[in-house]
Symmetry: C2
Subunit: 255 residues, 2 copies
């Protein structure tokens, strides 16, 4: 399952998507593709996401999302994507990096498909248990991988590169959007300097992608810390003082 916002098969992302589809087909895998632009995916989360009247007097995104999810009255485009996620063993999220994040249409996929009760607000929420999230949840047991293209050079995204390290730029996505509802997250495949693409480079990227797809189940995942495995103090949800003492930042959330 690939969520690719790319508008044209003639573009790099379109071509990569076609290559991936051929590769998966040849390997005998079953897969579904969500091509968001072609689907004319609705990006904005709003009152129409529920087929029922608002729960309260006014629209409340989380409350109405939760009600619609639990009562089975979500907009059909949302429930269809949730079904794809339940069906899949692994999900590739493919997008060009625009302004250091995903294109709006893919953010809108997360904003809407990640309903309350489905991707967040799952499990017991109390002072001693902060839900099934960060390693647990609806999507646990499934693998996810980002396939990202960017015009910038690899050095611009290196540990001291001006854009910031790519791992940190992708942390809110990989940790906050994939690990959060339970995905096991694989290292991303990032293609840099896309303005200087040629046939030789494209072939090399395809070869790498084929390798990544073939080894999806053998690849070591990013070792994010599970929320409910004892590493975090409740309810503050800060890393226990004896773990990585004195350190802070995104990196402390990886073992």
């Amino acid at each position: 399952l690939s969520v690719a916002p790319d508008p044209e098969a003639h573009s790099l992302n379109g071509a990569l998507n076609m290559f991936a589809v051929d590769d998966l087909q040849e390997a005998g895998h079953q897969f579904q593709v969500s091509e968001l632009l072609a689907m004319q995916w609705k990006s904005q989360r709003d009152v129409d996401d529920s087929l029922a009247p608002t729960v309260g007097e006014f629209y409340h995104p989380s409350q109405d999302s939760k009600y619609a999810f639990e009562q089975g009255v979500q907009s059909e485009d949302i429930s269809l994507e949730q079904e794809k996620l339940r069906w899949a063993d692994a999900v590739i999220f493919q997008f060009p990096l625009w302004w250091f994040s995903m294109p709006a249409i893919m953010k809108g996929w997360f904003d809407r498909v990640y309903a309350c009760g489905f991707a967040y607000g799952v499990g017991e929420h109390s002072e001693t248990r902060w839900g099934d999230r960060y390693g647990e949840g609806t999507l646990s047991g499934k693998r996810a991988m980002l396939l990202v293209t960017t015009g910038g050079w690899a050095s611009h995204y290196s540990p001291r590169g001006i854009n910031g390290p790519i791992n940190d730029i992708l942390f809110p996505i990989q940790h906050g959007m994939l690990f959060y509802p339970g995905f096991t997250v694989l290292p991303p495949m990032v293609i840099y300097h896309t303005s200087r693409m040629n046939e030789e480079k494209f072939a090399a990227h395809c070869a790498e992608l084929a390798l990544r797809l073939d080894s999806l189940w053998q690849t070591d995942s990013l070792p994010f810390r599970q929320q409910n495995a004892g590493d975090y103090a409740l309810p503050a949800l800060t890393l226990r003082p004896d773990i990585a003492p004195g350190e802070s930042g995104f990196a402390v959330h990886l073992k």
Copy 2:
């Protein structure tokens, strides 16, 4: 100028927006508000963003954006927002934090309004000069501030909090989307734990917001390093080895 995706004036973001508008009005400021959901802002960047035929045989987002910007044939909604940016001395970007980023509709505002030639691809691009960006560019001299609400607790976003430090989560936005085209970026105003809002807390947040709005021109900005002020090696665009030696991550890009 505030870009608020909030659908209802009855919500926290709607109420904050109304408060800000009243406050600016009383202080005698001129301002414009872009309420994205009310404007039915189009989120996806696509071939319709240019009124001209595609430059090449197929749609190419950057190339067609650049042509439309330079030839004055951009979709009108895009050029109107660019005019607002040119007109404004300061811009407040107000949004609820959804999945550790802005809602899709606001991302779509950046994806589309930030045209090639307007927000990127500005100035000389060569091996010795990588454009006017990160502190220089079309929007230099203007101030920008994020006004962000989130359901999570402040501790969850603290230096060792499970979500990651809020400054790091906002770095791709503050550095990559605001500082990039030239904005002077002020520290964000972040409101946590929004599910436990009451009149007393709301009044306190309004008082803080009023203070922030009144002191927009006296507040120290985030000391991001300018790309073209000598701190970065070209063309790798890595921080010079003698600056913050041995350190890496987002923090090295602040003085």
